[in-house]
Symmetry: C2
């Protein structure tokens, strides 16, 4: 569990990055920013900061803020009832993102896989996204990503987000802590 | 019909605005930018510049670039077959947008309705959007908007866009010119 102090420090850092990138968000959005260590207790290695602009049954838009070399771990968005699973487009707005999807293994990849959990990163086809570049992940497709040395800001455009249904490769991950 | 010179001039102006706002787009996106005068021949009064980032059956994301006081005329996105009609969220990124939707008439509105076509602006409840502020338009709901004195850049997050099905209040408007 992140402490309130750890959360506030991460929030401040994320806000600084948004400012540097010229992306304006409201005080309410800053307060509601999601800061997750995916339950692994090492936020700056495996973690993510998220501002949800809108999430409806039909579409969703978020800003993802990644600290330098911070990794969003491997996962997929499975089909749910009539829904084929979330499809999402990542558009890099600032910094660099190394994105990995199924496909031919990329030799000498740019991301540094977190050592202790190496076995839970299985897709290794690299897509590099610089500002203005984007990539669309089909539903139910494994993917993970890491920011470059400066961090990154990524706009995510997608169908509805139902985070609690995400399937992570790492069995120790808790994406959405159970409610009390 | 806009001349190629008019289109290139508008494209250059839109690119300058994006740069000023720190929004990075690719050369391909600049080439594919949609520049429309809605068939009325007065682009800087009634017109819009659009970069489509992604438009799928499930979701759509665009950047709208509006010149100073440029107006996107009143329209709605009707239901189509099983689809309830496009729902869209406008998020102001730069400048100011005056958005009008059904509701109580706002006294002393900030937008200046284009004189010659005044009768085709019928909804007059004002929403003012500054950077970081957003508003969601339900499907099939009349709306129009005008940029403030500096222009505006607006991110549009939505369900699928099917522009040729849009219904405009002004009968002279041609949103998507018929293909040859």
């Amino acid at each position: 569990m992140l402490t309130p102090e750890q959360i506030e420090k991460a929030r401040r850092k994320a806000v600084e990055m948004l400012k540097r990138a010229g992306i304006v968000v409201t005080e309410e959005e800053i307060r509601n920013m999601e800061i997750t260590d995916f339950g692994l207790g090492d936020l700056y290695t495996i973690g993510l900061q998220i501002i949800v602009y809108i999430n409806t049954e039909r579409y969703c838009a978020k800003e993802l803020i990644l600290f330098p070399r911070q990794t969003c771990p491997e996962h997929r968005h499975p089909p749910i009832d009539g829904n084929p699973g979330k499809q999402e487009t990542f558009r890099c707005r600032w910094g660099t993102v190394y994105l990995y999807v199924p496909g031919p293994l990329t030799p000498n990849p740019k991301a540094i896989i977190p050592k202790s959990r190496e076995q839970y990163f299985t897709v290794k086809h690299e897509i590099i996204l610089k500002p203005g570049q984007q990539y669309t992940i089909p539903p139910n497709t494994l993917h993970w990503f890491q920011a470059g040395d400066e961090g990154a800001i990524v706009s995510e455009f997608s169908s509805q987000s139902i985070d609690e249904k995400d399937v992570f490769t790492d069995p120790d991950i808790i994406r959405v802590p159970p409610k009390d």
